[in-house]
Symmetry: C2
Subunit: 288 residues, 2 copies
Amino acid sequence: MRISFLGLGIMGAPMARHLAKAGHDVTVCNRTMAKAAAWVAAHGGQAAATPAAAAVDAEVVIACVGADADLRAVTLGRDGAFAAMAPGSLFIDHTTVSAAIARELADAGAARELLVLDAPVSGGQAGAENGMLTIMCGGSATAFAESQPVMEAYARRIGHMGPAGSGQLTKMVNQLCIAGVLQGLAEGLALGEAAGLDLAQVVDVISKGAAQSWQMENRAVTMARGEFDFGFAVDWMRKDLGLALDEARRLGVTLPLGALVDQFYGDVQAMGGGRQDTSSLIRRLAHR
Amino acid sequence: MRISFLGLGIMGAPMARHLAKAGHDVTVCNRTMAKAAAWVAAHGGQAAATPAAAAVDAEVVIACVGADADLRAVTLGRDGAFAAMAPGSLFIDHTTVSAAIARELADAGAARELLVLDAPVSGGQAGAENGMLTIMCGGSATAFAESQPVMEAYARRIGHMGPAGSGQLTKMVNQLCIAGVLQGLAEGLALGEAAGLDLAQVVDVISKGAAQSWQMENRAVTMARGEFDFGFAVDWMRKDLGLALDEARRLGVTLPLGALVDQFYGDVQAMGGGRQDTSSLIRRLAHR
């Protein structure tokens, strides 16, 4: 298929690469043009100067950019993709953004007869590199059905969660769960360390029961060692928790732990840890 | 071996039963004597009127009682076990108590040439019934070595975590991790429910990635359904978090999530949920 990919960041670049490898005709577009040129030199296809230019003749346009404002710019802004897309073509957004903008794009797309899917991912940079992402989708059954064969190039698991915005809402649930797991783990390890326990041994014993979590199995040892230069960055997690807190305010739900851990990530940012893995929450407890 | 078991609650009774089934000569002792008589009628062995009477001639004395005060009463109190135990005999405590009393009993035991092990368990009532508990032990290498063949009657996993008190400290780490996992999960599900997502589908999609936890796999669906009449009671979790908070205060560690979730469990108690499973945290968010 003729697919245009907008945004060649640490997630977008490997996702676009998987599409090219799967045999699609890929056009890439990136704010920093040099990045798009380098991508084309490495993986083939062609680079476009603007989202609109990328969207002309594309059967599918995919975005993986920064936040709501970036997404609005590449879709509805000047030289945005939507005005250039042909009726019946498909727009997939992999950015983690608000459910509100997901619905806004779904409406704007419907007015132009575009199929639109909000499809935030989890699995991090490693998942994008290995083509093992989990994708949580919101949109019509048709948009979902059309996008599935495309996304299979880089996904291990794809779920259709409901109408427009449902993918973003599911991603919020995911991030809230992670926030709770990590802060609990950080406090447990900080207490254990202060008490003189061997943390690797503690994790070995408790990780087979009711306290078990992916984070415990994959991050407790590096947390105990104070290693945080990998994984999913605190800056992005704060963005995601902010989206969940905004949505909760709108829905009349309280997220006391979500709000608290968001503030704690603010502490980690102030300690210079904005680009460290989310497990760096332990730094503010263990004073590292 | 001649083993005396003090405390036939929902954990102690099945543990003592596993010992009898493994061929040990078991004497039981319970505050409510009728319970001990009923246990003997069902499983054999003999009942003793006091911990001291149970301890005479026992090679091993095991306690599984309520809290610090109960444990002190059955060991060092009037008619307590310690004064009646023979030098060289072994005392195993399965109660979840403070690290301070674990150390106090280790010292009092050492003065009488007793081997003492603090050995709190996790796995809940189901783990005790099935003989699949995890046991976190603190004490000397000798006490640990002597106790292991006894505890194997009801344990799947036994760890020696360090000197006296280390078993209790490890249990605190375990409970803090659970508190974080559950509150994060509760907030995520409450947000998802308010947003109209299908929670079973959400859990299915996110439970294979970085948000995964034992609690998500085993409690999310019942949380979504509002089922809490099983599992580990809020009242006991509050006791355990209180122990962790006291220990943290002593060590100069802060547990902001632990303190907050402890308060939330207080809300659940005030809502009449003291005997409900710890996953009932979602009640105060979803107003059920």
